[in-house]
């Protein structure tokens, strides 16, 4: 079969040391349509270049053609795993431009929805991170608990994932009469589940071996790269927008801000970033308990303006997304359509650090690092 002429001789331009491997747009672990171009030497990575744009849906261009209330469903679809927070950020930004006051009940409702959304988003992040590392079971446990939160959201807004609930000036519907009771039942149900997750995944020796000392992000690099949210806190800086640049009524609640201490490895490694999210879920439960107890009565739609026509000006306002600092830069020119909306999605900024973190690690570590910085491609590409 193999004659003399068929045996190939090595051509001169074949590089036998480096291989370019494409973790292409379709891949079970890249959390969406992301293309990572890895230059490998054996199994060690020399360069990792992300290519994005596969999910670009032209949110910013659309927003210029619509009125301010019409933009709200579009903001949902950017970070589709934390939709309430996208709407929250947008509403806070436009309300700053308009300069209006919001009823207190609306503020409480927004905070409650935001914190439930934070827990739901972190559950997805942790579950899929476990699944990437190889433990399939915590993935299903996290999604089982997330189902309960999604039913609460369905009770309130009618939708499980993309809500169109938090409007500029208020919320679209008042809470269902059973909502507070069901929400209060969720909290004692969920606390032992965090402990179960810790037993199964956080303390697991193999998991620690895979994630500790991998992808270490020093603090000054993190700040220079614009990292925010749990990733920045894992590198050791106690920076939380709910505390340092408060919006809505977060200054009324008592909660801690966990930071990374390098318990299992170095400060700022993947385990720290993962563990931040677990601890944040507990803190969200604390905020929820306080908010559900203190929620006042009131009218939720009294402050929604009939026609939103902000005066000419601009604002950059930011909220603490489950993933980091979500910023809305809105320029208004006095008409009913926004002149320019620029969304700074935290995942966009965080993805820029992949090259820096992946150098010198192996392919399996790329998956661990990518999972730990927790990106959502909808937010990266908008």
């Amino acid at each position: 079969m193999l004659t003399e002429e068929k045996i190939p001789t090595k051509p001169d331009n074949v590089r036998t040391e480096e291989m370019v491997l494409n973790m292409g747009p379709q891949h079970p672990s890249t959390h969406g349509v992301l293309r990572l171009e890895l230059t490998l030497q054996g199994e060690i990575i020399k360069e990792c270049r992300p290519h994005i744009g596969y999910l670009h849906r032209c949110f910013e261009k659309h927003a210029e053609a619509m009125t301010y209330p019409q933009v709200v469903p579009y903001t949902d679809r950017m970070d589709y795993l934390a939709s309430m927070y996208n709407e929250f950020g947008y509403a806070v930004a436009v309300e700053k431009l308009l300069g209006i006051e919001i009823p207190e009940r609306v503020e409480y409702i927004r905070v409650i929805m935001g914190e439930f959304q934070r827990i739901a988003s972190h559950l997805v992040a942790l579950g899929t991170y476990g699944a990437d590392i190889g433990a399939m079971t915590p993935f299903l446990f996290c999604f089982r608990d997330r189902e309960k939160i999604l039913s609460l959201f369905e009770l309130v807004s009618g939708a499980r994932l993309l809500y169109n609930y938090i409007w500029v000036g208020g919320v679209s519907h008042d809470l269902h009469p059973d909502f507070v009771r069901l929400a209060k039942e969720f909290i004692p149900y969920f606390r032992p589940k965090i402990k179960e997750l810790n037993d199964l995944l956080t303390g697991n020796r193999i998991f620690i071996e895979r994630t500790a000392n991998v992808g270490v992000l020093p603090l000054d690099t993190a700040i220079n790269f614009g990292i925010s949210g749990p990733n920045l806190r894992a590198s050791g800086l106690k920076w939380d927008l709910r505390r340092d640049d408060p919006y809505s009524i977060y200054d009324k609640f008592d909660f801690d801000i966990p930071i990374g201490k390098g318990e299992m490895g170095t400060v700022g490694d993947c385990w720290d970033r993962y563990y931040m999210r677990v601890l944040e879920m507990e803190q969200s439960l604390r905020i929820l308990e306080q908010a559900l107890d203190q929620i006042p009565e009131g009218d939720v739609s009294s402050a929604i303006p009939k026609r939103i026509k902000p005066p000419a000006g601009q604002v950059y306002s930011r909220v603490e997304n489950p993933r980091g600092e979500l910023g809305y830069f809105i320029i208004s020119n006095g008409t009913v359509n926004p002149f320019r909306i620029k969304v700074k999605g935290p995942s966009f900024v965080h993805l820029g650090i992949m090259n820096e973190l992946c150098k010198g690690h192996m392919i399996a570590d790329v998956i661990a690092i990518l999972g730990s910085i927790d990106i959502v491609l909808g937010e990266v590409d908008r």
Partner: protein, 357 residues
């Protein structure tokens, strides 16, 4: 035994040998592989707080039949630019490597496929064909991911054969035979005669052996987990990293062969561990056939015990798969070379010393 029975039945040596070699395949292994797929799905589902297949048959029993029917009628997609002969032979090699092992495993007192005196040695040698098959599959798929998966798998299997062999040597030193059938026969009596509890000879050495045997059992269980590419060692098929590793490009019947071979391999190594340490087909507490005087029942009872032990170890393998995350390649190699091999070696030396004295 069965060979003599068949010889008397048919009167021809070749026909008797032929039927005898096919018997384990069709009566046991293929139904077992079908059953194991379903078992894995149900076990994993119940561990993950869900139900698993429920629609096909009562509570999903016929699910695997449906899967096999589906796989058989799928189009056989072969990517362009592959090395066609290698591509086609690879699944066959893996299949043969997995199933060839069953020739030497004693299913019951009356049936062993081939009473080979070199049983254990033969088993380790035949499972080496699997490595060749995997490398061929990875290379001929013309796909970087498959190649990576195949190379990792080859490294993994070859490394983990060493602790396996060391533990087998330990057992051989104590019992003096490589024949699995004789090994199982030696562990007659009650369960305290099993090798894990020190072996059939009663004496001070038996009690010294117990901790050493337990260590040896753990070492061989972990090594055989790595040989069959199960989590935590399933780097070659790591779904979330390399899509499906060396069998990414296979579809239809060829994929079914890889699939079935994996489950057969799982049972084969469970059976070997059971035969070496847990008495093979021996019952832990006497035979019903003996108590009632019904002697033809005994082989069936032995078969039942053998299957029960094998299935129990397969269940533990599945349990581990759905609980633990997977190890990275270098950690896997470090585990083998830096931890398992020294431990197995020390174990071997101590057992050797005790046996000699």
């Amino acid at each position: 035994m069965i060979y003599d029975y068949l010889y008397n039945l048919t009167g021809s040596e070749a026909l008797a040998a032929f039927i005898q070699s096919l018997l384990p395949l069709f009566i046991f292994i293929l139904p077992f592989a079908l059953f194991a797929v379903l078992m894995e799905r149900k076990v994993s589902a119940h561990m993950q707080d869900r139900l698993g297949p429920m629609r096909v048959g009562y509570h999903g029993i016929l699910q695997t039949v449906a899967d096999i029917l589906k796989l058989v009628q799928k189009e056989d997609i072969v990517p362009a630019d592959t090395d066609k002969p290698l591509f086609n032979i690879a699944p066959a090699l893996v299949f043969v490597g997995s199933y060839g092992v069953f020739a030497a495993i004693p299913f019951s007192g009356a049936f062993v496929g081939a009473n080979i005196d070199l049983g254990l040695f033969y088993i380790v040698a035949i499972s080496g064909l699997i490595v060749a098959g995997i490398l061929m599959a990875g290379w001929s798929s013309n796909n970087k991911y498959s190649l990576l998966g195949a190379m990792r798998s080859a490294a993994q299997i070859i490394s983990y054969e060493i602790p396996t062999m060391l533990v087998i040597l330990t057992i051989v030193m104590i019992t003096g035979t490589l024949n699995l059938y004789t090994l199982s026969e030696m562990q007659t009596g009650y369960f305290w005669n099993w090798m894990i509890f020190g072996g059939p000879d009663f004496g001070i050495s038996k009690f010294i052996f117990i901790p050493l045997m337990i260590i040896a059992f753990v070492v061989i269980y972990i090594s055989t987990l790595a040989e069959v590419n199960r989590t935590p060692f399933d780097i070659p098929e790591a779904e979330s990293e390399l899509v499906a590793g060396y069998h990414t490009e296979y579809s239809g019947m060829k994929f079914a062969m890889f699939f079935l071979a994996e489950y057969a391999n799982m049972f084969a190594v469970s059976a070997i561990v059971a035969a070496i340490f847990f008495g093979g087909f021996q019952s832990p507490f006497g035979y019903l056939g003996n108590t009632f005087g019904v002697h033809w029942l005994i082989p069936f009872e032995q078969f039942f015990w053998f299957t029960a032990k094998g299935l129990f170890f397969v269940f533990v393998q599945m349990w581990l798969r759905w609980t633990l995350p997977r190890l990275r390649v270098d950690q896997l190699m470090a585990l083998c070379w830096k931890y398992l091999i020294p431990i197995a070696f020390v174990d071997l030396l101590i057992v050797g010393l005790i046996t000699v004295l």
